[in-house]
Symmetry: C2
Subunit: 306 residues, 2 copies
């Protein structure tokens, strides 16, 4: 099965304790589609400006990502500029220039409208709604968002949530959005908005799955090599969706595995700037780390009479 | 096997979003010994002032905790006063009065000196060293500490670490102590000081075990009921040590189980103020939640060719 990703295509300027990189390839759609492409076919819906380097489009194509719904518009590509301090858990935005995103009107091809696995990456919820309106009976829709949309387009965001299966959101944003410090409570409130399940991404602390009567706590990865956290959540989502589409199994058991696979992709992505680690990543490395996650988290129950 | 706990016995004044309680039973030694007592015999070494309510000593005895090494000195009992804000992850200290702790000189009985399982709960590292000097060939020594000692008695603390098997420390303190935001790096540095293993307690995010070639990420508990986080780390340690002593098995597999058991006890303790939840806690509840942790964290590896 193929994964359809709708999201941003960006030129990022990023500063971390490991260096500063200017106008590097980024964007929620790019990270997610690239991570998904390790598992099978992926397509990306997005927009770039006339300044967007052709080599980046070539890279996406080299990953067998369908780029026919990437629109090129006059003007500049979406740009994000930010930095991470010492602890690297929190991105600090210096500048966001929506540029061509401001007039973006996503159009799916006839084939893309029939997609079974759809990921609405972090993007204006009104654009996410426009994509939802074009879909015909997908098997699974997941979405992500960020504080910017929680603050500025709360109602549209709620509408999106009511129409998707799985909400991916980071811990700080879940707390902020649902106005509670308690993550299980925040998750329950998001589910009440109409989603079937919520996955809370906690960065270095792993990820949590909440659904009616279901809870799963995915282990954290002991990340010694962390150069640039940009795109961690998007590559998590891409790995998650890619694995689900590849296996075409939406059981809770398989969703748990997909969360681990998402964690694996994210753990690689943060090892270098932009998509650099993804460019070097080998399928065998993915399998090895997937097995490591099992070792990191397993324990046996031994009943002891107390 | 019995667990010997050395730590504080306190009268706490605690404010959380769920209320304020004045001069309630607390202290690292009390929480740890109480949690350990669910698994078998425990003893507590500590000091109280002449103002310490007899009923608290009776409570400890009712838990079959050996109190003969609790010294009663003229003066006031150690008092801690603090509050938790909205997110309850961080304790804010209003006032610490060491009182009788200032002249405390821990003395172990002949039997206690032969203890096999020893927990040096959060306490002045110089007092922890005095206890270490009295021990004869224990099977396992674990310790805990806090930012106050990291700042004020760094060298004594390093000496304690070099003489114990397992260091328990919370995430913020591990980062601060080892001057790195990276938890795996902080853990490696603590192990270099001479401990065999490090357990990093992450509150709502679970716990991590690091040792030479070993990593374990214990799941977080979806804690909806959280009234007072005071003593969470100490009850974690007590559950951990109590389970190890009960099973008398120091293999890595069993240490993983003991970490889960520590997480179980901590998750109950925070459901109410002081030791209130511990007073009501039934062994069957412990077993049930222990099994829940397994369900929260399990996933199966399914090899998928990518």
């Amino acid at each position: 099965m193929s994964v359809l990703v709708v999201g941003t295509i960006a030129l990022d300027t990023v500063q971390t304790p490991f260096g500063e990189k200017k106008d590097i390839l980024g964007g929620s759609g790019v990270y997610a589609a690239t991570a998904a492409s390790f598992f099978g076919p992926a397509a990306i819906v997005g927009v770039v400006g006339s300044d967007f380097p052709q080599e980046h489009l070539e890279y996406l194509k080299s990953r067998k990502i369908n780029t026919e719904s990437i629109q090129t518009m006059a003007g500049e590509t979406f740009r994000w500029s930010g930095y991470y301090e010492y602890d690297m858990n929190q991105a600090h935005t210096k500048d966001t220039r929506l540029n061509v995103l401001l007039s973006f009107d996503p159009k799916l091809t006839a084939e893309q409208k029939k997609s079974d696995y759809v990921f609405l990456a972090n993007l204006d919820p009104e654009l996410q709604l426009k994509v939802l309106d074009q879909l015909e009976e997908p098997k699974l829709i997941a979405m992500d968002t960020m504080d910017f949309w929680i603050n500025s387009k709360r109602e549209a965001l709620k509408k999106v949530i009511s129409r998707v299966d799985i909400v991916l959101i980071n811990d700080a944003e879940a707390r902020q959005f649902m106005e509670t410090p308690n993550l299980p409570v925040a998750a329950a409130k998001i589910i009440k908005l109409g989603a079937k399940a919520v996955i809370i991404k906690k960065g270095e602390h792993g990820a949590l799955l909440f659904s009616e009567g279901v809870h799963f706590s995915a282990p954290s990865y002991p990340q010694e090599m962390l150069r640039d956290p940009t795109g961690a959540g998007d590559s998590f989502a891409g790995g998650f969706m890619g694995y689900l589409a590849k296996t075409d199994d939406r059981s809770e058991k398989n969703i748990r595995r997909a969360i681990i696979m998402g964690s694996v992709l994210a753990s690689f992505n943060v090892e270098d700037f932009s998509l650099e680690r993804m460019r070097r990543l080998q399928p065998s490395e993915i399998s090895t780390r997937f097995n490591e996650f099992k070792k990191f988290s397993e324990f046996e129950i031994l009943e002891v009479k107390i």
